[in-house]
């Protein structure tokens, strides 16, 4: 499946940028950014198997826990720091977002929007935790411990004093959402570009 969220993120990354991809998984996005955008890329990943997959792709990757923060990184040491679909799995999402905006000149955060109407509907009618393509887990084995909505994330940015440069939305991984109205109700996937004002 072509990941439209990856494509949107890719378009946000200028050619030759330095990129830190937090929770980079098996390195698919990072490898694509290197191939298409010639970035100087580095990833962070907690799963042993995923780190090995990154190494096999020739990527530079750190085996580590994002919740420990990015203390090793100097301010502004990357052009772009990406957190793709991992926000909801962090124990300390607020700290990580704050750190991203410190380490990167630009921070890109994508996450599943928990206020999308199908999810609301499922809760309302079935009265059970929603399971979908974006949220494919049962409640008892989900790694998603900090789900949030578009409104929630905007609130977080405001509280952290971060500037929202752009908001992009998708109906799903493979369905674009041009001119989407009321994204908190209609988008399954949100991509935020934030900066820390000087």
């Amino acid at each position: 499946m072509r990941r439209l969220d990856y494509e949107l993120i890719e378009r946000l990354v200028p050619d030759g940028a330095s990129v830190l991809d937090l929770g980079c998984g098996d390195g698919e996005l990072l490898a694509e950014l290197i191939r298409e955008k010639h970035v100087r890329g580095s990833g962070v990943e907690i799963s042993q198997a995923a780190v090995e997959a990154c190494v096999a792709k020739g990527l530079s990757v750190f085996h580590g826990d994002l919740d420990e923060g990015l203390a090793d990184h100097a301010d502004g040491s990357f052009d772009i720091v990406i957190l793709s679909f991992s926000l909801q799995q962090l124990r300390r999402p607020r700290l990580v977002v704050r750190e991203m905006a410190r380490v990167g000149r630009l921070a890109i955060v994508s996450f599943p929007n928990f206020a999308q109407y199908a999810i609301r509907w499922e809760m309302l009618t079935r009265g059970r935790m929603p399971v979908s393509k974006e949220l494919p887990y049962q409640w008892y084995d989900t790694p998603n411990i900090h789900l949030c909505t578009v409104h929630d994330f905007r609130d977080l940015c405001r509280e952290e004093g971060l500037r929202i440069e752009r908001e992009l939305y998708l109906r799903s991984f493979d369905r674009p959402a041009p001119g989407l109205r009321r994204p908190n109700l209609t988008a399954r996937i949100a991509i935020f570009v934030v900066t820390r004002p000087a």
Partner: protein
């Protein structure tokens, strides 16, 4: 790794003489040394392009016998046989693997026990002080001898990892991939302290005689104690609990004496004593000193600054229960490399074996090492002019 992995087979240690006068090796301490004998073994075949050579650097008590067997009847293979051979992580069907005994060692390379051609007697403590950089410079002479301009990879754990770092700094143009494991960018205080206890044990042995004991009774008691102390630092609380607990040795009750009642005592005594059969006490002094002096960022430089000129791609590996070189010391190396946007990956092996994990955790190491070598080999180039 699949099931069809094999042994490097029967191998033999060879020796080469380098740094013959007047082209003696200039040591870090300012002295010159030569001629120098280096013991080495090789496994696999050097490619026609000479682009598949991997140097394996050994730890404090290691030697050139990294893989395979010396005789068909040998029960024990080389010290890193688990990773080296046909189909293994360092696949000898693809790579040309080199093991060599360090300068200052006692397993075939020039060290305190070897004869000083100037006097016809063993060097003893008249041998100049050797450093990690000196060991690496001697290895570079071995590569010259083998006709290898640039290594595909240099890999090693503990003191071997220090050599790996030193290689990338001393000879940046000769290393394409670097894999330091279970080591530090500078020997940490606690590790110096343990080494000092070991040295004091040796030097307190009346048979040490200022290092002049060759042809006489050797300081085996002191060396055995040094090894016992060292050995404890290679294990972990958990591994010792699991392996020995408080089990008694061949007895049901305490003997109410100072004999080795506990399994762990008996084990350490055995480790200490058997070590004296294969290791020279003066080499132990020299090598631990080399380790203690190791600081890749000497002179108060930042680590990132010290590693600024390295060209190699790195895979840095730490081991969760290693308390001699805890993971943070490996992360520090990786972070410093990343700070200047070098190509570096950090991988942490979850293990309860302590420092020794890098000699034991085959299954947890081989996948990522093999992947790093394979992806790295695709980007190998000889930098301008050579080869």
């Amino acid at each position: 790794m699949g099931g069809d992995t094999g042994s490097a087979g029967v191998v033999r240690t060879r020796q080469v003489t380098v740094a013959e006068p007047p082209r003696r090796l200039r040591l870090e301490c300012g002295d010159e040394l030569g001629p120098i004998t280096l013991a080495y073994e090789t496994y696999g075949t050097l490619s026609e392009q000479r682009d598949n050579a991997i140097l394996v650097c050994h730890a404090l008590s290691g030697d050139a016998h990294v893989a395979g067997f010396h005789r068909k009847t040998d029960k024990r293979a080389g010290w890193w046989d688990m990773l080296i051979g046909p189909g293994k992580a360092l696949d000898t069907d693809k790579y040309f693997v080199i093991g060599t005994n360090v300068l200052g060692g006692c397993n075939g390379s020039t060290g305190p026990a070897s004869v000083d051609p100037a006097t016809g007697r063993p060097h003893g403590t008249t041998l100049p002080m050797i450093t990690i950089a000196d060991m690496v410079n001697a290895q570079a002479l071995l590569l010259d001898h083998l006709g290898i301009a640039k290594l595909l990879c240099v890999i090693g754990g503990s003191m071997g990892g220090m050599q790996v770092l030193q290689w990338t700094v001393s000879h940046p143009e000769r290393v394409h991939l670097a894999v330091p494991l279970a080591c530090a960018a500078r020997q940490p205080t606690q590790a110096i302290a343990f080494n000092e206890v070991g040295r004091q044990a040796i030097m307190a042995d009346p048979h040490w005689r200022g290092g002049d004991y060759y042809g006489r009774k050797r300081p085996t008691k002191g060396l055995a104690v040094a090894r016992m102390v060292g050995h404890i630092t290679y294990l972990s609380d958990e591994a010792m609990q699991e392996k020995f607990g408080r089990r008694l040795r061949d007895i049901h009750e305490y003997s109410f004496s100072f004999s080795a009642d506990f399994e762990v005592e008996s084990y350490l005594r055995h480790q200490g004593l058997s070590f004296t059969d294969r290791f020279d006490a003066n080499s132990y002094l020299y090598i631990t000193r080399a380790i203690d002096y190791f600081d890749i960022a000497k002179g108060g430089r930042s680590l990132a600054d010290a590693l600024r000129d390295v060209q190699a791609r790195f895979l840095v590996m730490g081991f969760s229960s290693d308390w001699l070189h805890p993971p943070y010391q490996l992360k520090e190396i990786a972070s410093a490399l990343r700070a200047t946007h070098k190509h570096v990956s950090y991988y942490e092996v979850d293990s309860h074996y302590g420092h020794d994990a890098f000699l034991l955790e085959r299954e947890k190491m081989e996948g990522v090492i093999a992947a790093f070598l394979a992806s790295g080999a695709r980007t190998f180039t000889f930098s301008g002019g050579e080869g």
